[in-house]
């Protein structure tokens, strides 16, 4: 049978989100791949040129709807750099807690999507069950479960409620117990899971850096780079956490990406607990920014999927002149042909699931 092109998507149950992956298949082996983006392009960059600075936060929330606080926070950081606004310390701690809660929720959503990709539908329901804990915490903190509109330029929108400490500690203790007792036997120790993911979708560290792959996908190749440590923002210098890098053999395959993301959830739990201890118990959490901004502001943060980068230009108006969004998945998508070549057709979903695609941020 000669080689032919198969469309995985755009309507496909397991490519999470709306994008197309053209795969050239020779029998069962993949010879070439071509991603096709743009099905979810909403023109966020253009719209944000006519909205006031604070109103753009509503748009950036919806860039990656699974992990909204991280995107709005990156935008707020960029605008704060442009305007020269200093966020009070308590606001910074609130931001750190909300970011880490959002990171865990995003990784659990990834796990809920990745399990069924491989045929393990039980992972879907268990991950969503745990995600409910964190969505409840995020709701307590910000009022909404997703698209929260929580970060503000100069701080955050509101204060923490009183019972947040206790609920947070209880949820995290429950979650860590579940990770150890249920998820690890189901996933790490499952021989079939390892058969499906070890050695599949490899990319070397040099190629990954050259193609712009960042985040857990890069750390799985053995590169110890995390923006929270490389260029600390907020109060990340005051918390103690370990950057989860894959140090063993077989770096850069789906299993190492899976393990890096999985372990990051534990690290995020420890960051939240430390933040709850170290946070000042009272004080301002929001500074008032000026109405107009002029100049250029650039900020990069460690989003759940990689390095999210915002470049904001202002020309003295109360709206941004240009907002440029750099999405980690947009860049990782350029590297997918390298990861896919040579593998089998059945591995496409295992590989694409392991890089954690969120089409909202990819297509802006």
């Amino acid at each position: 049978m000669p080689a032919f092109w198969i469309n995985m998507g755009p309507q496909h149950p397991m490519t999470h989100g709306l994008w197309n992956m053209k795969v050239q298949v020779d029998g069962e082996t993949i010879t070439d791949a071509r991603p096709e983006l743009g099905y979810l392009h909403r023109g966020v960059e253009k719209i944000s040129e006519v909205r006031e600075f604070q109103k753009v936060i509503v748009l950036t929330d919806r860039l990656c709807y699974v992990s909204s606080i991280t995107w709005s926070h990156a935008y707020c950081l960029a605008v704060e750099k442009m305007m020269g606004v200093e966020v009070p310390e308590r606001g910074q701690w609130f931001r750190v807690i909300s970011l880490e809660l959002q990171r865990i929720a995003s990784h659990l959503m990834w796990l809920a999507a990745y399990g069924p990709d491989l045929g393990l539908l039980t992972a879907l329901l268990w991950s969503l069950r745990e995600r409910e804990l964190f969505l409840d915490l995020i709701q307590l903190m910000s009022g909404m479960r997703m698209n929260q509109n929580y970060p503000r330029i100069g701080g955050v929108r509101n204060d923490l409620p009183e019972n947040f400490d206790a609920m947070c500690k209880r949820s995290i203790a429950h979650f860590l117990r579940k990770l150890e007792k249920e998820y690890e036997p189901l996933l790490h120790e499952s021989k079939v899971f390892q058969m499906r993911t070890v050695g599949v979708g490899k990319i070397s560290a040099a190629e990954a850096i050259n193609w712009g792959v960042t985040g857990p996908n890069l750390r799985a190749c053995g590169v110890d780079v995390d923006v929270r440590r490389l260029d600390p923002y907020e109060t990340y210098e005051d918390v103690d956490f370990e950057v989860q890098t894959w140090k063993g053999p077989d770096a850069g395959d789906s299993y190492s990406r899976f393990i890096c993301r999985f372990r990051e959830m534990r690290e995020s739990c420890s960051i939240i607990l430390q933040a709850l201890e170290k946070m000042p118990k009272s004080g301002a959490y929001r500074a008032k920014p000026p109405r107009r901004g002029e100049g250029e502001g650039y900020a990069r943060t460690e989003d759940s999927r990689g390095e999210a980068l915002f470049y904001v230009c202002g020309d003295g108006d109360d709206r941004p002149y240009r907002v440029k969004i750099r999405s980690p998945i947009f860049c990782t998508m350029a590297a997918t042909p390298i990861m896919l070549r040579g593998n089998k057709l059945a591995d496409v979903v295992a590989i694409l699931g392991s890089i954690d695609v969120c089409v909202g941020e990819m297509d802006k």
Partner: protein, 178 residues
């Protein structure tokens, strides 16, 4: 770690204080008059403005001599009298970021492509072409990426009309105020 010594071993990214001054000094020493503007924005971030003709030389120096292996982003900005292609290159070894603003005249939106240096530029340059209309010479396949393949306009340009609803602009502004 100094900015111009080649790094060894696995990549471990931790910030080095004062590195942006060093990098700026190296750039000034190498390119001198060609830098239209060079300044330190904040710790770890340096900004350099150049003309489009020097782009490849500057980028090659940054990548090969100063080990800036990661191209973070390529942005295209439409200042109404000129375009700017803004490159954010990052160094994983010491956390330094250099923002290179390359000026492009408004009536001739062409600039050299850095795809040969960083493959990450591939998609970013396609996006800049797609939305802003800047042609990157030397790009392997410069075609539309986010918009439909037969779309005729470049939406991010300032002369492409913005769909504005009256309700999103305050009445004060509509009446001509600020």
């Amino acid at each position: 770690m100094s900015a111009s010594t080649p790094p060894v071993g696995p990549v471990i990214g931790r910030p080095v204080a004062g590195i942006e001054q060093e990098v700026l000094a190296h750039l000034r020493q190498r390119f001198g008059a060609k830098l239209v503007d060079a300044k330190v924005v904040r710790p770890l971030v340096a900004e350099v403005a150049i003309d489009r003709a020097d782009l490849l030389a500057v980028c090659q120096y940054l990548k090969e001599a100063l080990a800036f292996e990661h191209l973070g982003c390529i942005s295209a900005v439409d200042w109404k009298d000129h375009y700017e292609s803004v490159y954010h290159v990052e160094n994983y070894y010491n956390g330094c970021v250099v923002q290179v603003n390359a000026r492009i005249p408004h009536d001739d939106p062409k600039i050299a492509s850095v795809c040969g240096l960083w493959n990450a530029a591939n998609y970013h340059e396609r996006e800049a072409w797609d939305l802003m209309g800047i042609v990157y010479e030397g790009h392997p396949n410069l075609e539309r990426i986010l918009l439909p393949k037969d779309f005729k306009f470049f939406p991010l340009r300032k002369d492409f009309p913005q769909e504005v609803d009256r309700q999103y602009i305050s009445r004060r502004k509509l009446r001509g105020g600020k």
